[in-house]
């Protein structure tokens, strides 16, 4: 099987693009949750943040595709093309490559539904998009697992650092997502932000006012 490049270049390219894809995937998840949590506050910054999330995700897909192509064309490991989409078919390391295949399948599902999102019902798109929470750990496991063994990357200092960083980032993002309690945490630009807080208080109390009977001020709860 002739590859795109020489064997050793394929081998290194495959591993490099794999790690970059993992980093980009982690960044995508982080950006997605930062958008959800309204880290970007101003009008145009929110738009930019949304577009950056989308563009980084596409970049992650690009690097994943190169990662796959170099895996197919590499002569050192015999990986049939179909095994990259269907788990379990690879002769080499079937379990760990299989996990990679699962991860790619999930990524494709997320990408396709996102490209077609204006034609889908929100619930459909949302449920598939949540597969991202499955896609990332699968990709990580694939990376660690297929990187184990002689001559490969797991266990080396630099890869360990990468794994710790992306792992912490993902964990932090998921924590933020879970503690956000849905839309309750969303506070809009308060109307008072457009003017000084509150209204000027009364200089003298009106002659016969008393506190409004039986009306506590409650902050309306938004449903989740």
């Amino acid at each position: 099987m002739s590859g795109l490049l020489s064997t050793s270049a394929d081998w290194y390219l495959m591993r490099a693009t794999g790690f970059i894809a993992l980093i980009l995937l982690t960044t995508t998840v982080g950006l997605g949750i930062a958008n959800l949590a309204r880290v970007a506050k101003g009008p145009w910054t929110r738009t930019v943040a949304a577009l950056v999330h989308r563009n980084v995700s596409l970049l992650a897909v690009v690097f994943t595709v190169v990662h796959i192509l170099t895996a197919i064309s590499d002569k050192y490991v015999k990986v049939p093309a179909l095994s990259l989409l269907v788990p379990g078919l690879s002769g080499y390391d079937p379990f760990w490559i299989g996990l990679g295949a699962v991860s790619i399948d999930l990524l494709i599902a997320v990408m396709v539904t996102s490209l077609l999102r204006s034609h889908l019902r929100k619930r459909t798109w949302q449920l598939v998009h949540w597969l991202a929470y499955l896609c990332w750990p699968t990709a990580l496991a694939h990376s660690i697992g297929s990187g184990s063994g002689t001559g490969v990357d797991t266990g080396k200092g630099w890869s360990t650092v990468i794994y710790i960083v992306v792992g912490s980032a993902f964990a932090a993002a998921v924590t933020v997502r879970l503690t956000r309690r849905g839309r309750d945490a969303v506070t809009p630009l308060p109307a008072s932000a457009r003017r000084p807080a509150g209204y000027a208080p009364s200089a003298t109390a009106p002659t016969e006012t008393r506190p409004l009977a039986a009306a506590g001020t409650t902050r309306p709860r938004r449903n989740t």
Partner: protein, 73 residues
């Protein structure tokens, strides 16, 4: 002639406000950051921007629907 106009789902809308950035000709934000959507038919030069606004809404709360042009009524 059948044109299309924007429709907002007020329940799904989360007040991100990205739509107002992408189509200021038809969408402005109220005092709480939620969009006020002008539903009038869109001219050809705005349709592309409107489609971007629909696609980029994180809550998928915007839709393009067919509306009858005023002349056709």
């Amino acid at each position: 002639m059948t044109r299309r106009g924007l429709r907002l789902d007020p329940i799904g809308c989360d007040g991100h406000g990205i739509c107002a950035d992408l189509l200021p000709e038809r969408i402005t934000l109220d005092d709480w950051g939620y969009p006020i959507v002008d539903p009038s038919p869109l001219s050809d030069d705005l349709i592309g921007h409107a489609e971007r606004a629909v696609t980029n809404c994180p809550a998928l709360a915007l839709r393009l629907e067919k509306v009858l042009d005023a002349a056709a009524r």
